[in-house]
Amino acid sequence: MIEIPRLPLAEWIDDGLDVLTGQFAGATKVVSDLMETGIEGTVDALMWLPPGVTIVLAGLLVWRLTGIRTALFALAGLALLWNLGLWEATLQTLVMVLIATLIAVSVGGPLGILAALSPSAYRIIFPVLDFMQTMPAFVYLIPAIPFFGLGPVAAIFSTVIFAMPPAIRLTTLGIRQVPADLVEAADAFGATRRQKLWKVQLPLAVPTIMAGINQTIMLALSMVVIAAMIGAQGLGGEVWRAIQRNEAGMGFEAGIAVVILAMLLDRITQGIGRRGKDQPST
C-alpha cells in the first residue's frame, strides 16, 4: 500500500501567520492598545452618568428614531438589565458592537460599491465573502490573538471579519437593483460615474444598504458574545463565566440581556431604514 503523505496545510497557514505577525505584530499591538483605551474611555464615559438618566435618554432617542412602542420596550428592557446588575457588561458589549459595525461598514460599503460597479471586482470579492461566511466563526479568534493580544480588540477584529459580508453584499445588491432606466436617464443628461453614484444609485440603494447594516449589527452582536472566549468583556463574559461555573440561571440572565440588546438594535436600525424608504417612492 502506498502511503500518501499528509498535506501540511496547517503548518503552511501557521508559517504564513508567523511571517505576518513577525512583520506587523508591533504595529497591530500599538493599534490594539490605542483602541482598548478608546473602548474603556467610551464605556467609562457612558458609566459616568447614573444608569437611570442614561436609560431615559436612550428611551427618548429611540422614541425620536422609531416610535413610542419601541421606546417603551427600550425603557423596560434597559431597566431590567440595570436591575440584574448587567449594566456595565451591556455597555461594554454595545460599544464593541458599534465599533465593529462602524469598521465593517466603512470597509464593506466601499467594497460593495466597487463590486457593484466593476464586474472583475465582483468576481474577486464575492467568492471571498462566501469563504468568510462559511468558515466557523470561532476560527477567526485564534489568529486574532497573536496580532492584538487577548482582549476586546482581538474580539473586534474577528467580529469585523465575521460581520462584514452582509454590509458588502447588500450594498452591491442595492446598487445593482436601481432600475436601469434611471441610470440611463442619468447617462442621457451627461452625468459622470461619480455623479451617477452619488445622485442616483446610492440614494436609491439606501433601504437595501440599511438592511445590510442591520444584518451586520446582528452578526456583530452574536460574534462579540462568542469572542468572550478570548477575553472580551461584556455580556459574553458573563455567559462564559456561567458556563465555567455550571450556573444555568446566571447564564440565562446574561443570555436574556443579549436578546434584549439584539431586539433594540434591530428595531432601531429597521426604523431608520424604513424612514429612508417612506420618502418618495413610485
Binding site: 432600475p179 432606466d181 434611471l182 440611463e184 436617464a185 442619468a186 447617462d187 442621457a188 443628461f189 451627461g190 452625468a191 459622470t192 455623479q195 445622485k199 442616483v200 440614494p203 436609491l204 420618502q279 418618495p280 417612492s281 413610485t282
Partner: protein, 418 residues
Amino acid sequence: MPAEQSVKIAVRGLTKVFGDEPKDALALLRQGETKQAIFEKTGLAVGVADADFDVIEGEILVVMGLSGSGKSSLIRCLNRLNEPTAGQILLDGRDIVPLGHRELLEVRRSKYGMVFQHFALFPHRSIRENVEFGLEIQGCAVDERAEKALIALKQVGLEGWEDATPGQLSGGMQQRVGLARALAVDPDVLLMDEAFSALDPLIRRDMQQELVALQSRVRKTIVFITHDLDEALFLGNRIVLMKDARIEQVGTAEEILSNPATPYVERFVAEVDKTKVLTASAVMRRARSVAFVNDGPRTVLRKMEDEDLSFLCVVETDFRLRGIVRDDAALDAVKRGEKSITSIMEPGVQPVGPDTPVRDLFGLLAETTMPAPVVDDAGRLLGVVVRASLLQGLAESIGSNGNASTSDSATEIVETAA
C-alpha cells in the same frame, strides 16, 4: 422642404450590432443579409443597419416601426447611449461618434434632452429636483437652476407641483415632468423614446396636442420614437419608417401614405384611417370663379350662372377673402336695383387652412350647405370645400388603395356626413 431649413443631425451609414465581436455581422450586413439571417449565423443582434437620414432643424421627425424594428436602438445611438458600431452622426456638422468621454458628456449635457417611455423620474427627488437634474449635472448655480426649473414646469403646465414627489403624480403628469426635465437644460434636440406610449389613449392625445403647441413656441428639433402610426402621422413633420433594423422609407405623412416605397410600407399604412391625413387642399375645388368686392349684383349673378354655382366667394383684388354671396340674395338685390354686393355679403363658414385634416371638415360642413373656404396664411382664397368635393376626394383616395378596412371606415364617415 424649403431651402432655408438647415440639417441639425445628419446620420450616415449608422449601424449598431450588439455584442463584442461585430465584425462577422458587419460583413454579412454589407452582403445584404437580413437581421434574422445574421442572428441565425452569428448569434449577434443587429439593432440598426446602415441608416441614412437627416433631421431638419426645428422639425418633429418621427421614427416609427413595430417593436424590434430597431427604433429605440437608433435613438440611443444619437446620444451614444448605444455605442454605434459603424457610421457617422453629424450633429451641427460635427461627427460625435469619435468623441472622447469628456466631450461626449459635454454634448449630452448641452445638446440633448431625453424623455423616456416609463418616465424614468427619480423617486427620491421632488418634482423640482427632478427637473433640476440636468442643470445640477452641468454644475449650474442653485438659484439659477431653481429659476430655470420653474420656467420649464410652467411650460408644461405644472407650476405649483414643485414640492410633490413623482409617486404622487398621475402618469400624464409624470411625463410632463419628464418633458420639463428635458426642456430645463434648453437643449437643441429633444429625444423622445415612446414618450407617450405608456399613457392611456385620452391623455396620450392631449399630450400629443400639447407637444405640437409647445413645439411651435420653443422650436426645438425633436426626434420622436413611436410604434403607433396614428401618433406618427399626427406629430411627424416627416416620418422614418423602420423594419428589421433597416429604414424602409423617409418622407412626409402624405408621401408615405400616397406613395409607399415598399410593399411593407403599403401593408403598414393600409391600416390607417385616411381621413386623418387627407387635408383640405387635397379635396378642395380651386377657386376659378370669384366675386370681387366692387362687382355689382348683376355681374355676380352671371358668373354664378356661367359656372352653375349657387354661391360665390367675395375677395379683394389681392384675393383676400371677404365673405360669401348666395344666388338668391344676388337675385333679390338685382330686383331691388342695388349697385353693390356689400349689403348682401355674408361672413359664411369659418375659413380653414390648406393643412386642415378632412376629419375636421365633416363637422364644419355637417350643419350647413355653405362651402368652407380654404385660405392661405395671408388670408388669400385658395379654393372651397363643399360636401360633394369632400366625398369625391375621399372616394378617390380609397379607390386607389382598395382596402377593406379603410373603405369600411370611410363608408361610415360618408354616412354620418350625408
